[in-house]
Amino acid sequence: MNRRTFLGLMGAAGVTLGTGSVSHAASAADVKGLPDSGAVLFDATRCIGCRKCEEACNTVNELPKPQAKFDDLKVLETPRRTHADVFTVVNKYQPAGAKAPVFRKIQCNHCLEPACASACFVQAFKKNETGAVSYDASLCVGCRYCMIACSFGIPAYEYNEALTPRVRKCTFCEPRLKEGKLPGCVEACPKEALVFGKRSEIIRIARQRIMDNPDKYLDHIYGEHEMGGTAWMTISGVPFKELGMREDLGVEPAGSYTSGALSAVPVVVGMWPVLLGGIYAVSKRKDRIAEEEKQKAVTDAIARASADAEAKLSEELTKAEVANKRRIEVEVKKALEAAAQSQTSGEEE
């Protein structure tokens, strides 16, 4: 759809877009992604909402302790989102028809093609081999475009930092991964509602569970394809919408939505000078022609006038032969005057 309407856009720019989309497609085809990067499966049918993962996350990342202790489950009554000092939250949902509440863990999904990375104008975000989408505060300008771009609404911002505010989000515990440890939350989960592994493996496991218990799970792995695929995936027994997960995200990576506009840019650089130069030349030329025509009109007029005068003069001369000298002089004088007159009037028209 997007590509197609983008065609329209290019049409508006009056250019064939071969360059833009084709090269885009070709280069994209060569990219294999990171099938063996780290991934996590969240199984909503296993989660019991004990908030052990939140606690672990808080400790591992040395985040400030919240007022409510982590074993206080009343917190679950109100839906929450991630914040600068909360990288993950578990929310409680009461799906229509389900007898027991269902819980869902929210954190950065570590997209395969991250929107934040595609949106960041200093490349502060990067998808790594570990699977983590890491953030480099030493480059961040704090424009918060990443927060606009993320369709999962994950990145948060230190609004109360005066001079060194950072964007904050789940790090996938990348340092721990590099030490061969599990992410804090995964390690802490008492039910293995969170399982860590190679993405390819994780998808296989998820499929296995769905196949083994067809009436326990919906036949969909959320995150396998959403937004071009994410490292954190979810399987559930209730519709994902019931768990506050958007089902209208589509399978296009966020970057693909802007690639069209981006490939239109060079077209502008290439064509505008040409078009504008052309217009300039044309308008210049029109002025010149107009100028010339004006000059011509004037000179013609003068020429015509003097010609008449000449004619009159000679005719009078022939007549004058039969007349006496004085009368000739008189006539000549008259003729000259007439000529002079007609000339001036010629100039005027």
Partner: protein
């Protein structure tokens, strides 16, 4: 210039309005992910799209709430004198049709459309003009042509089960037109249906003739047959209304959509059924069915060769009566015809009549709601069973030994005899013989599931192999096992299938060799976390078993009924210290 001077203020006024409207609407709609808010469920949602028989619809379907209209009209009192006939016409024999304001569909779609538009909008405007509350007028198509209803539907089909049938039959006991009140046959002479007063005259259940849609069989007698929907509403609702008309003290059935099709009303109906039907009453609907029989899986080629010994599978003794007593109606297993499954349709090899569904599939299908296995699987969803069975994937429940639970061969009966019996044409004698053999097998079945001797069941188990932040959990092993055994004691199904004494053990000690001393969990579930194959680690396995079971049985946080007085309620899944105390550091 002047006109402009007027134009501007006018356009500005328009704008102001548009803007205010926009703002208000914004304020209202802001933050609503979906424009439609779900306010409750209804059982009377009809979507009117008859025009689609005349070509593609140019408007979305009309969403029509039938009860809403009837109740609203009823409130109008005298304006509702005509009752149903306000919207439904009487035909020449004074029977009220089910179509809106017509006896038959007109030739052209536009006429039909006119009938509806005049009918609906006419009535609405009429009411509105009298200052009465009315439905949408013709201003905006969308208000009627909504396509999808804004409310969710709770509509449930209502099956006339044996209880309901019994209650209806009871009302007609004295009447000489007993069965005929509902059941009818086609009288060729009169070219119309005539009641079938006597049992033997009844051609069968409604579904036998009345299919999902109107059926026209050229040359058939009759040629045209109403759909089950039209038939049932035509008969039931009309009859209910007529009885109701006799006066307040003649009991009558519901005449509204929700009366029959709303889940709540269906609960009431069931409650009434059980209340009004005497305990010992014989509820069976006599359809020449056997009490007990033997389901034979005879290979096709053997059909006309009595001597053949080729059974594809040992026969299954089937207690038809017992299954009826479970509250099943004919339709629960049979399709509209009551022919025995194996003979014509679901043959061993499969046949066209049976939609190529073989006998084996018909009986074992996990998905169809007619098969034995799927129905038994439903039973496993009961709380007392779900604890164990929700944890096992269906595959686990089908170890091959289980086949023999149903498929058994009567001891003396030689295969030849069975083959001959199978091939023999249906007859009373054949039926009796099958019944005899079936009884022989059924009576041989254990009356109670075998159990380990109580002392062989460890009383308490200390689960502490990975105690770190928490002290070991003391697990009241024996009490739980005994409770489980007690819960399923009375179920013949469970008794039949838990035929071996360790069956219950395997609920938790799964996929390990059958034994009184099963291996420890840790021998398969690593204490260091999940296996690469996705097998749970020890902690998750244990938590999965306990919590999963508590949740599935719905006893989480509750005190089991038969628990000793001193027992504390089953801990919540999130109550860690409920099972193992926080370790003191």
């Amino acid at each position: 210039m002047e006109e402009r001077k007027q134009r501007i203020p006018r356009s500005l006024v328009f704008l102001a309005l548009c803007g205010v409207a926009g703002l208000l609407a914004l304020a209202v709609s802001s933050g609503h992910a979906t424009p439609q808010e779900d306010d409750g469920f209804r059982a009377d949602i009809m979507s009117i799209s008859v025009l689609k028989d005349y070509g593609p619809l140019t408007q979305p379907k009309v969403v029509f709430l039938h009860d809403k209209h009837t109740s609203a009209l009823a409130k109008l009192g005298d304006k509702y004198k005509a009752q149903c006939n306000t919207c439904h016409l009487k035909d020449k024999d004074g029977k009220t049709g089910l179509a809106f304001m017509r006896e038959a569909n007109p030739a052209s779609g536009s006429d039909l459309k006119k009938i509806y538009h005049d009918g609906c909008i006419g009535c609405h405007t009429g009411l509105a003009s009298e200052g009465l509350k009315s439905g949408p007028l013709d201003v905006q198509c969308k208000s009627c042509h909504a396509g999808e209803p804004a409310v969710k539907s709770s509509w449930q089909p209502l099956a006339v089960d044996r209880l309901l049938h019994f209650r209806h039959a009871k009302t007609q006991e004295k009447a000489d037109n007993k069965c005929g009140a509902c059941h009818h046959v086609y009288d060729e002479a009169a070219k119309k249906t005539a009641p079938a007063p006597k049992e033997e005259q009844v051609p069968g259940s409604c579904a036998y003739c009345h299919k999902a849609t109107d059926t026209v069989t050229p040359g058939g007698k009759p040629e045209k047959v109403r759909s089950l929907r039209l038939a049932s509403h035509g008969e039931c609702v009309t009859c209910h209304l007529e009885t109701a008309a006799k006066g307040p003290n003649t009991p009558s059935g519901p005449a509204t959509c929700s009366g029959c099709h709303a889940p709540l009303s269906q609960k009431d109906i069931e409650a009434n059924n059980t209340k009004q039907v005497p305990a010992g009453a014989d509820l069976r609907i006599k359809r020449h069915q056997p009490d007990r029989t033997l389901i034979l899986a005879l290979a096709p080629k053997a059909k006309n060769d009595p001597a053949a010994k080729s059974f594809t599978m040992a026969p299954v003794p089937f207690d038809h009566k017992a299954h009826e007593a479970r509250g099943l109606s004919c339709a629960s297993c049979h399709h509209e015809t009551l022919a025995s499954c194996g003979t014509e349709c679901h043959t061993v090899a499969g046949s066209k009549e049976g939609g190529q569904v073989t006998l084996a599939q018909a009986m074992h299908s996990q998905t169809s709601d007619h098969s034995c296995v799927s129905c038994h699987a439903q039973e496993q969803k009961k709380p007392e069973c779900a604890g164990c069975h929700s944890q096992r994937k269906p595959a686990d429940t089908q170890d091959k030994a289980a086949c023999a639970t149903c498929h058994t061969t009567p001891a003396p009966a030689a295969p030849e005899a069975l083959a001959a019996l199978a091939a023999a044409p249906a007859s009373a004698a054949r039926a009796d013989e099958l019944a005899r053999l079936a009884s022989q097998l059924l009576d041989a079945r254990p009356k109670a599931a075998p159990m380990l001797a109580t002392e062989d069941i460890p009383e308490k188990v200390n689960i502490g192999s990975m105690a770190k932040d928490y002290e070991p959990a003391e697990f009241p092993h024996r009490r739980i096992v005994l409770a489980m055994a007690k819960a399923i004691k009375d179920s013949t199904l469970a008794t039949a299938f838990h035929a071996d004494e360790t069956a219950l053990c395997r609920a938790c000690h799964h996929v390990s060799p059958v034994s009184k001393t099963p291996p420890h969990c840790v021998s398969c579930h690593s204490a260091s976390g999940p296996g690469p194959d996705g097998r749970p680690g020890l902690k998750a396995a244990l938590h999965g078993q306990c919590m999963g079971c508590h949740k599935a049985m719905g006893i989480e946080g509750k005190k089991p009924a038969d628990a000793p007085a001193d027992a504390k309620p089953v801990p919540l899944n999130t109550d860690c210290a409920g099972c193992h105390k926080q370790a003191k550091k």
